[in-house]
Point group: C4
Chain length 381, copies 4
């Protein structure tokens, strides 16, 4: 019997498994440029806040925009289901762990009020902030026009996995080229994780892509469905799609790595892997201004029949400004994320994000030296 | 001295080490077909319940069949050794951990009563359910005719490792082609884990193969004997044997991955690896109807001299229907397993199980992000 | 600057990282032959007891021999330093953990009494047992003649690392071909872990080789010196040296994997990797007859300046006979080791140890399924 | 669509992931030569003490020098900011964990007193010791002349990452060839981790290179910035740069692996990987004479806006002499480091450090056997 050629699987990597190699030249961090451009818009810092109810509401979207980033408000969450979402958010924060899944299932079964879509968008715009609003593919045809009408600047169409092609008997799939004609604003689409699905999305003409399936701290997609690709590999593959598409079309479609970040190191690694921007959930849920009141939970996931999220206690550590710009009062990398990114660029000799994409990385399991030393030390007088 | 060519070992993978990559097209989960066919029988869901005493008895076999799956009753367990097995099951559930191995050794040393074989099978058949009954290879010649006579639909011949060829001085090995002639029903044989042993079994004419040695939660075969192959590799290798055998013979012999499942994600991965069906132990032992009363233990393993099983407390979480079809009240993937499988097919753009076999997988260690985040958060106010 | 060709390291494997693949044919375990031959001696089971004071004394050496194996008594431990070693062993067992290293340093600084060498050997011989006695290379010239004179059957010359060549100004290195002429009995030498050092040792004419540096439960060589090769790789490499030497010389020199075993699975894996026999420390220190009274510690390692051992509590689980032949009352693989080995041979279709050397193995990290399941279950009612 | 060629990352290794393979010949440890030469200076042991405030002050620098090694005093730490640094060190040791980062930020914001630079250097010189003093690149032009003037023997220029080229608008980068002309003493520069950056540094004419970014027990650079390469790979790559540079120029520039060491095994592995010397932090912070009083913290890292260090309790275990030369009273490898290094050389048949560079290493995850055995044993009577 001839030896069969066994099926082989490719190895993928997450944040904990890689490290960035310093460059041969160093640059003063103050001289680095970390801008993110999405069609007409330029953000001075490449940071988006997740379209999750514990992270982004009207207030935090305004704050983020003033600090140079972008908050994305979810149009199918508590902000548009409740006139007074703060009461609901407080209820979620107060609920004991054992009751949280049924509570979230109940909270998210309330109907979306179309008038609130306009109100939330206008509140953000009135403050002079850039407004990005998020809808799911299934509801895009219904909500996108309302979003445009209310004056939103950027439309985000996102679900766990969104592809350029969808097969369904019950409704016609969302056709992105049609959507581009329907609304005139930039469209960010997600999420995807593979080279080919990212390339196909870019070819539909959309403005930016969200990268990430299953990595988030509040997401249990990998346990429930077995689906997901670790963020470093997902980012590297989608960055290659972006570069190939740019060579082919002349159009540069930025990719935004979305989910799984815990500290500045993770952000630096995503950028070294090829990300043009990052979308933060748990990390910003720790902000004093965060609507989650120290808690964070999966947004698309209070599914009535197959819930895939979980509520985690993230605590409250500092203001959004302190988390992004410091000064840090902790040394675990969860504060001064922008300073960390600039410092990493400097260490790698990168003047901007495009140069940082060329930084070398190695596979290097998360350091445990410190923990071990402690253990060793504890057994002693 | 010339450099020697060192012996090299192949890497194998288990559920925790892989993840499924979403496809380039998505399909509405409601439109997916997840049927499993075993010779004349078609099951609307590809789920078998293990031939283990904590999982399958007459009642759960009936329930499983009505829900579209198949429960396999073990003909050498408490169901055929005791007129009133429920008393024994309660005793096992009540026993303290320190006394469980001797108790199981005692319980399983009681003789098998041949009349009970017929009674159990007829009870299942009387309820209109499909009846599958399991025997070990050593007892097959003795019990298979009784099984056929009592009206069972499918015969399962299984032990830790079963091969097409067996060498023994004390008894003539089981010859599967002969067995096929002896009983006219479909025969499922297991367990095996390698390409060549699976191929040889298929070549004997049997109807389906159980794949898995050593992975189960209640199994300690790998510690005791060092033998076993992780389920993803075992499934991929046996799926290749099935496909090669189909090309060679034109006969499609389904493979059923048996053991080690903890959640929907594991099931989805097994199918992506090539499984036509899955056999669940611990997961179904958690059912309210489960005979194990919240406990689960190795079946073939209360060996009088070399026990290789262990009793684990799995708890009770919901009805069989809820575990299989939801709605899920937990987010860890242990409920609505069928919904999870359909959703994963949809995300991979697969209309049926055969298409899901082509889904891409990557090697991706189990996510620990959440755990780490918690740890990080706990050190804070 | 041209890309440098980086130094690459070879991956090595330990017991926890591999698993044995079942064969295409199965054999009745009762029909397997697991003999080990060392020159003129044939042992019905391939099990040696370590030359460690917590494992082998006169009584256990006799018991082991009667059961078909071989106990190796250390001639430089408490047995030859104290007329009444049992008192010293009891003192070691009673000492609190914080005082154990200085106590061992003191205990092992007492002088060796040459008369006790003869006494211990004769006590073993008088009982009709095969007697193997162990010395370190530095003391071999002094003690080997005494050992021969007292009637020992097999001489073991072992230290952490022993090579065919040694450079020293202070004393002439041990020359094995000379030693073979000096004493007429078989000589087992160790320890080594690499192909080339094993081959060189075999070429000196010695009778068997001990394989293993740094793996033992009571050994901290890898922490202290950074030196050591995991046992599966060490065994595979030395087995290749044995096979090459056999082809070259026609002389078959068995290799005995020494150290790191915790259960039957480890023993089966060592044999599948190429071992002709195994030398057990911690596992036999758990015997009711063990001189260590439930404790085990490194033998060569109470070094006055650089101690590399540690005392571990192994507990007491059963008699030597029960540990080797069962029946097992536990399911963790620590009892009925011989039964486990025969069963594994049967599952792999191997009639004897030589055939088991051809069993396929895969790289497969230790299973953690059970642990995880428990964790999962604990969060539930 | 053609299959894209995915970006691939190279695997890197740390101390815990490798092990040294014994040689085919052994050497008496007493005959090994472990000298380290840095331009005119010869050190009988290849050990440097880190330029960290918990490790090196005037007293420990003197002790180290007398024992044959080299302590490096940091000229930008508490020793030059405070007339009476011992008070400040005691305050750091007393501070509760929750207040340590702000305290360190405050302590290190006090100005450096130039007169103390001279005083500290002269105190070391007056005792007859070799004096090495460390500055950061940004302050080198200002402090280097003072250092030379005060009579220091060796200048160390070090920061997290130092390269031969630096881009900044605010100040002219440090030009090493110019610095060599400015001060006549040997210059050690660091830190770097890659082949090319190490080679470029050597080509500037400096005397030795410090290797290591992010490995230290008191360093959180990898979490905060994602930057760092594990020490074995960093050492192997820089050793290759050293060897290539030696072939190219005829000048041998030693490399000193700096950071992450916990025991003798780590030191032996660094040397086997190619290190000419090692720089120890945490391990020497455990000395009775250590200024840190049982604590250790990152030196360059009390950054006012982005702190990357942490204070860890290392405890106090023995004198510097005992840690370096034994006798060891513990068996975890943290004492008698020099004895361990000589023993490892002996086991590998290496007469000196250059020969030890040729020792074979294998990839071998840290042993956990002992831990597992304990766990196993605990569940028993």
């Amino acid at each position: 019997m001839a030896k069969p050629k066994f099926r082989e699987l490719r190895r993928s990597y997450g944040f904990d498994e890689v490290a960035i190699v310093p460059g041969n030249i160093t640059v003063n961090p103050d001289q680095t440029n970390i801008e993110l451009k999405i069609e007409g818009f330029t953000f001075t810092i490449p940071v988006l806040a997740s379209a999750m109810d514990g992270v982004t509401d009207v207030r935090t979207a305004i704050t983020l925009s003033k600090l140079g980033g972008l908050g994305v408000i979810h149009l199918e969450g508590v902000q548009t289901r409740y006139d007074n979402p703060d009461d609901v958010l407080a209820e979620i924060a107060r609920a004991p762990a054992s009751e949280i899944t049924p509570l979230l299932q109940k909270v998210y079964s309330a109907p979306i009020k179309e008038n609130l879509i306009g109100e939330r968008i206008q509140a953000i715009k009135k403050a002079g902030a850039v407004c990005a609003a998020s809808v799911t593919p299934a509801n895009t045809k219904r909500f996108a026009p309302l979003t445009a009408e209310a004056g939103a600047d950027i439309l985000v169409v996102a679900s766990t996995v969104t592809t350029a092609r969808h097969t369904s008997k019950s409704y016609e799939g969302l056709i992105f080229p049609k959507l581009r004609k329907l609304v005139s604003m930039p469209i960010i689409v997600g999420n995807c994780v593979s080279y080919s699905s990212c390339l196909e999305l870019m070819q539909t003409g959309i403005s930016a892509v969200l990268v990430g399936v299953g990595p988030g701290a509040a997401c249990t997609t990998r346990q429930v469905l077995g689906v997901g690709v670790p963020q470093i590999t997902a980012t590297m593959d989608c960055a290659m799609a972006r570069d190939d598409y740019f060579r082919e079309s002349g159009r540069y479609v930025p990719i935004i790595t979305d989910g799984g970040f815990r500290n500045g190191g993770d952000i630096c690694k995503a950028v070294a892997a090829g990300a043009d921007g990052v979308m933060l959930g748990s990390v910003l849920a720790q902000a004093k201004e965060a609507p989650g009141l120290g808690y964070h939970w999966g947004m698309a996931n209070p599914h009535p029949a197959l819930p895939r999220g979980t509520r985690i206690k993230v605590g409250t550590t500092g203001t959004i400004e302190q988390i992004l710009f410091g000064p840090a009062s902790v040394t675990d990398g969860s504060q001064n994320l922008v300073g960390a990114l600039r410092t990493a660029l400097g260490i790698c000799g990168a003047c901007d994000i495009a140069e940082m994409h060329k930084a070398e990385m190695v596979i290097a399991p998360a350091i445990t030296t410190e923990g071990k030393f402690w253990q060793m030390a504890q057994g002693r007088p």
